[in-house]
Symmetry: C2
Subunit: 353 residues, 2 copies
């Protein structure tokens, strides 16, 4: 099969227009871990059990309104590069690839997705642009209720939802925001801020979640604790802390510009010049330059470029997207060429001069 | 006084259009050292002697056809920054500033100039675009003959012209070319080539002559020996060796492009992007980027930019030129701003997109 997604464009979570606090907050995400009652967790389950789980979840999804027009994608039907595309779009993670019988159910706009047979039988996710924790939580909650009508979840009144990993027991919920903090990094306040965030019980991770390094001033902030706290409380807490971080980030941006606007402009316009002219761009360099450009858009220095275009580029320049777009298995240097071409084309479309 | 030169534009020596081998050879220069008979050399001469020398040379210049419309510029009439402008235009050197009574006679197109009371009483120079050693030599020779009609040169039949420094005794001539060798630098052949050049009795120096470092792939190649060799022979020798270097440089450029045109293009287009967008540019970085751009013009990658524009920029972006153009004594960061503005304006004038 080929992927049923339009990989030349982004999922709706990247379309930040009108989204709250989108100058700092790229996206909000909530995921719930659920398991089916009296069946072993995926990593210890036999193949026929995994098949039975997938069958049950597929059936249940068909009764869900939110997943009415969703794509059901079985991982065994995908090439390696197509699997990577799903990772790059934040629809699945590396872990799902290790499962023998796995699939992902992706709602058309890519706001909602459900991984089947990852660490838990179900991992449902909602991903929205900007700061929208409450909304995102309500969406997963609705989905959870719809599926619960058709599935028998493993649940114990004393602890809550049972999960394969104890860190998820209880609500089974992980809520996170992806934030862009160039101001706090540049003013060297980032360590202090991230330390404060972690004292508040939140974890900080990189662009692609657990185990990945923070990159190009993007950070993922999420809850650590899933037990003995109400979901609304967790979500509300992250929303409030993120608002505070966003406010600190804006102060830092303002200070940086007033302190030495020439240096700020120089960095941003150089990034703009290189992105629009380079013939070879590595993923890492592109991310760094696009991060600068994103700040340039905030300062209104770069006309006609929107945060949304940049959010989209962050995904579309990843290796697997480039390979699928070109229809070829590109080697590293060929990807650098394709990446530079894509960026030039996208940025030229919108801006002249 | 203010300088009688148009410092927004270049001397004619920078206008390489139609000049021979100007893809590699920026300019050709010949200078002759002459002293007046029975007068002490400038560094040991009393002020009244220096004054008398200047008077005599000024008179003699008025009888010269080549210097008919020349500017007579006395260094004591200039501000420090104006003196630096003359250095940046290759019309005088640092040494002349140490002289108590010094001047420079500059022909309108800046092809011909005569320093008075530098290391020797007279240092006459002709500077032409491209590879034009013979022409340049003939020009200085004609000037020399014109002045010799009005001055009594210190000359001994056994050794030739007497000079303050023994390395100039004999012909008193130094002939040099300024060459741009990015291909030989990039292919790491440069050391071998320069060693061969020095075995042939030529010296290699930086952009601003003796004591300066080679910079941005520009090298000055000149004769070492002034004694017991005919001028035409010296000049002819440099011309021939430069032709060989130019041919090796072109081979290297061709090889580089065929070997990895993407990497070549990437370097050139990045330079182009940065030069057209940066807000702060140091002198050194600008020179390096303009050097890349010059190669881009050679490869016909950058439309509408001529080597002449770049030669001009190499001079106009120097500190003193920037100060005089702005009418202010700019500090380092202000110069970086002014330099970036000038480069953006000049490159934008000629190119869109």
């Amino acid at each position: 099969m080929s992927l049923p997604l339009n990989i030349d464009a982004s999922g709706r979570w990247m379309r930040t227009e009108g989204a709250a606090d989108s100058d700092v907050v790229v996206s909000s995400r909530v995921r719930l871990a659920r398991n089916l009652n009296e069946l072993p967790f995926p990593h210890v389950a036999a193949t026929d059990v995994l098949k039975a789980v997938r069958e049950q979840v597929t059936q249940a999804a068909q009764s869900s309104k939110l997943l009415q027009k969703a794509h059901h994608i079985r991982l065994e039907d995908l090439s390696d590069v197509e699997k990577q595309v799903l990772i790059e779009r934040h629809l699945i993670n590396q872990r799902l690839l290790e499962s023998k019988i796995a699939s992902v159910i992706v709602e058309q706009e890519e706001i909602i997705s459900v991984m089947v047979n990852e660490e838990d039988h179900l991992r449902m996710q909602a991903l929205e642009p900007g700061l929208a924790m409450i909304d995102t939580w309500r969406l997963t909650d609705t989905l959870d209720n719809e599926l619960e009508g058709a599935l028998d979840y493993a649940f114990r009144p004393d602890v809550g939802y049972c999960t394969a990993c104890p860190t998820n027991v209880g609500t089974g919920m992980r809520a996170s925001v992806l934030v862009h903090l160039p101001g706090l990094v540049e003013t060297k306040q980032i360590d202090k801020v991230l330390k404060a965030v972690s004292h508040l019980g939140l974890a900080v991770r990189g662009f692609y979640g657990e185990g990945t390094e923070p990159m190009s001033n993007f950070f993922q902030i999420s809850n650590q604790i899933t037990l003995s706290r109400a979901e609304e409380e967790i979500v509300d807490n992250i929303e409030k802390i993120t608002k505070q971080i966003a406010s600190k980030e804006r102060e830092a941006r303002k200070w940086l510009y007033s302190e030495n606007h020439l240096r700020v402009e120089d960095t941003i316009f150089r990034a703009w010049g290189i992105l629009r002219h380079a013939r070879l761009l590595s993923s890492k360099e592109s991310m760094n330059l696009l991060s600068s450009l994103r700040l340039g858009v905030y300062y209104k220095l770069i006309p006609d470029i929107t945060p949304q275009m940049l959010n989209e580029l962050f995904v579309l320049i990843q290796p697997a997207h480039l390979c699928v777009a070109s229809g070829k298995d590109l080697q590293a240097e060929d990807r650098d060429v394709a990446r530079a071409e894509l960026i030039r084309a996208r940025l030229r479309m919108k801006a002249a001069g």
